[in-house]
């Protein structure tokens, strides 16, 4: 299917969207790529700056400002944008009319913000009986930490994801970015669509409470059951050990230093994983034929022996890995059937990996002020209603004429009046 054809998968749905940053905006970005009409509501009194990503780097050129933030554009591709001062009486009236023609209201404010404006689920339901209201915040909307503030790194810290990303005898390495802003958005998208399917079946809308910390807690399941069933905590001597694998047990399994690539960074790394004895025997043959007689040691022939000798194996494999750049070694190992791959830099994985090109993962879109720029696409292809991305994030109020004019039926002069009164 051609890339520019608008997907019909969700084109029957309209979302009245207050989300921002990534933890919320990522959810409605996914749905917009499949054709949902996502109407992003922004506050004209602060130029939409509730979403701090509006003006944040990286930038395409030397220009700066709320229309030029790279992350904001990336997370809001394909959405419509309107301005609305919800603190004004006319603003509230317009918002309420918009709710009346929407399927969902979505937000990821701190707990209680939308309620403080007078819009809790009960009020939204009065405006539209089957409305779905999905609210996403770090700790959810009840409990001792309801008022605590979070962003990605805090969600990851308090849920166990930061701690479980470490190597022995070192402090937590954590995630070098907001993994849970991405993933919290994924769970928010699931929650929205689950609620819509429920509505399709029953005719009833609902309120959904998404807490990114709870979504994060579900992502360490086997470790948690080892604790609740066997009483074995992850906080123990020698753990966490994220580059090794105990569940399932595999050895060797690590990230090793490799010969740097001339003209690139002065460090390079390779990941190698032997899933079973067969993989090890294949790797052993590669090593022995490359002059590493030590690999023929029978002690390594079976998993138990390799697990017991893991440090020794890592040291010797580490020496072998320094002979070549990580792409060359990975190629040798994979040809023998052993999982191996360079730790790719952004440039390598985005611009040099054949999989990026063949899956058309990074579409070029046009944003009104930024011009043409590449963004994160969707890593799935649909046989009938594939996604598309053509338009960048909306500049402030870019779709006021369409939404207030065509959707809500206001005349040009009425819209002009609303600008003058500071409503738009």
């Amino acid at each position: 299917m051609p890339h520019h054809v608008k997907s019909q998968a969700l084109s029957h749905l309209r979302i009245c969207d207050f989300t921002g940053q990534l933890a919320g905006a990522g959810a409605t970005k996914f749905m917009a790529a499949f054709g949902a009409e996502v109407i992003r509501i922004e506050d004209p009194t602060n130029h939409g700056r509730w979403d701090i990503l509006r003006g944040m780097p990286p930038y395409v050129d030397d220009r700066r400002g709320p229309e030029l933030g790279g992350p904001f554009n990336n997370h809001n591709v394909g959405k419509l944008g309107i301005t609305l001062n919800i603190k004004t009486e006319k603003g509230r009236e317009l918002f309420e009319r918009l709710v009346g023609i929407s399927d969902c209201v979505t937000e990821n404010f701190s707990s209680g913000v939308l309620r403080s404006w007078g819009y809790d689920y009960e009020r939204l339901k009065e405006l539209k009986d089957d409305i779905i209201y999905v609210s996403n915040c770090g700790f959810g909307h009840s409990g001792p930490y309801e008022k605590f503030k979070t962003w990605g790194p805090i969600v990851q810290a308090t849920s166990g994801l930061t701690m479980s990303s470490a190597i022995p005898d070192q402090p937590p390495a954590g995630w070098g970015y907001s993994y849970m802003d991405h993933t919290g958005a994924y769970f928010m998208a699931m929650a929205i669509m689950l609620a819509i399917h429920h509505r399709n079946r029953t005719g009833e809308g609902q309120y959904v409470d998404v807490a990114a910390t709870e979504a994060a807690l579900t992502l360490n399941g086997p470790v948690l059951l080892d604790y609740t069933v066997n009483g074995r905590p992850l906080r123990r001597e020698g753990y966490p050990d994220a580059n090794h694998s105990v569940s399932p047990a595999m050895a060797p399994h690590n990230i090793y230093a490799a010969q740097p690539i001339p003209g690139s960074f002065d460090e390079a790394w390779i990941a190698i994983a032997c899933r079973n004895d067969e993989d090890w025997h294949a790797m052993r043959d590669v090593l022995v034929s490359d002059g590493c007689e030590w690999a023929a040691n029978d002690d390594y022939g079976q998993l138990a022996g390799r697990m017991a000798a893991q440090d020794e194996l890592d040291e010797r494999i580490g020496e072998w890995c320094m002979r070549r750049d990580p792409f060359q070694s990975a190629e040798l190992l994979r040809a023998a059937g052993v999982p191996a791959n360079a730790v790719q830099t952004p440039e390598q994985r985005i611009d040099q990996d054949v999989n990026s090109a063949e899956s058309k993962l990074w579409p070029t879109i046009r944003q009104t002020e930024m011009g043409r720029v590449r963004v994160d696409g969707i890593p799935a292809r649909f046989s009938k209603t594939d996604w598309s991305m053509t338009r960048g994030a909306p500049v402030l109020g870019e779709d006021n004429d369409y939404v207030y004019g065509e959707l809500l039926g206001l005349s040009e002069s009425e819209i002009a009046g609303l600008y003058e009164e500071g409503v738009l």
């Binding site: 990534l22 930038y59 802003d181 429920h198 959904v208 086997p222 790719q344 994160d376």
Partner: protein
Amino acid sequence: MTTNPNPGMMALDDLRVLEIGDERGAWCMKLMADMGADVIKIEPPEGDPSRQYEPFVDDEPHHERSLFFWYYNTSKRSVVMDFDDRSNADAFMKLVESADVILDTDTYDPIGRLGLDYRQIMSDNPGLIWCTITNFGFGSSRDEEPHTDLTLAANGGFAWMNGYDDHTLPPVRGGGQQAYHTGSNYAFMSILTALLHRDATGVGQHINVNINGSVNVTTEAGSYSWLVSHSTVQRQTGRHAGVAPSMPSQIQCADGRYVNTGIPPRRPAEFGLCYQWLEDEGLLDQLPEAALLQVGAELESFSLADVFRGDNEELLAVFGAGRAAFDLLASKLTAYEFYTKAQNFGFQVGVIHSPEEALEDPHFVDRGMQVKVEHPELGREVIYPGAPYQLTKGSWGITRRPPLLGEHTDEVLGELG
């Protein structure tokens, strides 16, 4: 036998789903099963490979005791089917015809082994949603390569992002098979998208999910710094990888545990709160820079950029005092005390819990994140982590413990007649 905290209708309990795949798809299928879908996991006679994965109940290896298998297979039914026996083709087709959704990971190739035709199945069942999850996308030139969660995390960008300021230490994958999770998360979002389209039109389709692609678009600034400005972020201890180095944000507290301080005090009011916190703890006289916090509280508002420009000595001193105050407080308090006290002052701080500490944290206990599931064969009630989202209608629940191997073969095939 089982515990469902949310009896009654569940959002996906109108769906029959076939799972024909390995661990890469198991998370997606758990997400569907825990929302009520009748997920039938078709296993080979020897069982799903992950039944052999550590850890085991009481460390006794057995295909019914893998906690890895348990976690990823709650609420499902298990049917054993040998795809090398072509006499199973009829039974398989009956299952397919009863299904709304099929998920496969291109692992068992039931279609080829049973002598069936995939295109024929799709055209005979126009409402069927069929999702394939593979390492690089079905049909990719790289899809025959051997990979694991680790090597996909390396290929797709997770590993580049995570690690330490000391670059002689390796990049870190992140714990918990997050590359596979991310592929499964995209699969579930995609299946729901196709389901809503089917609700509206009756039309199903095939979905081709790429795990490497899923990792690639889940790296925040790792990707968009390159896409937008051809700049490259590099790993730093416990905080965002950056194009340029940033200041540490992870402090060790009095009990040896760590907190993430987020962005340290930077607003005038926050310097005032910092001063008050020191006063509450009786620590003012231990911080020579304390008076600077009072200076900070009286400043006009400023931005971090004003601080990092480095030409305003007063601002630098005030900002430094805020950091020194956090360091001092952390040295006197446990990580949990530092966290809760800081949050009560309005600072965005997080205690670095281990996963089990998070599960036992009073907040998550209060919100029902500990769900009890009976395992009658072992005479035990087991606590599982709870719902990733709280729907108020049609909501989440573990409807049955993970299935024994082939537990539902007769039941399911019997239902089909």
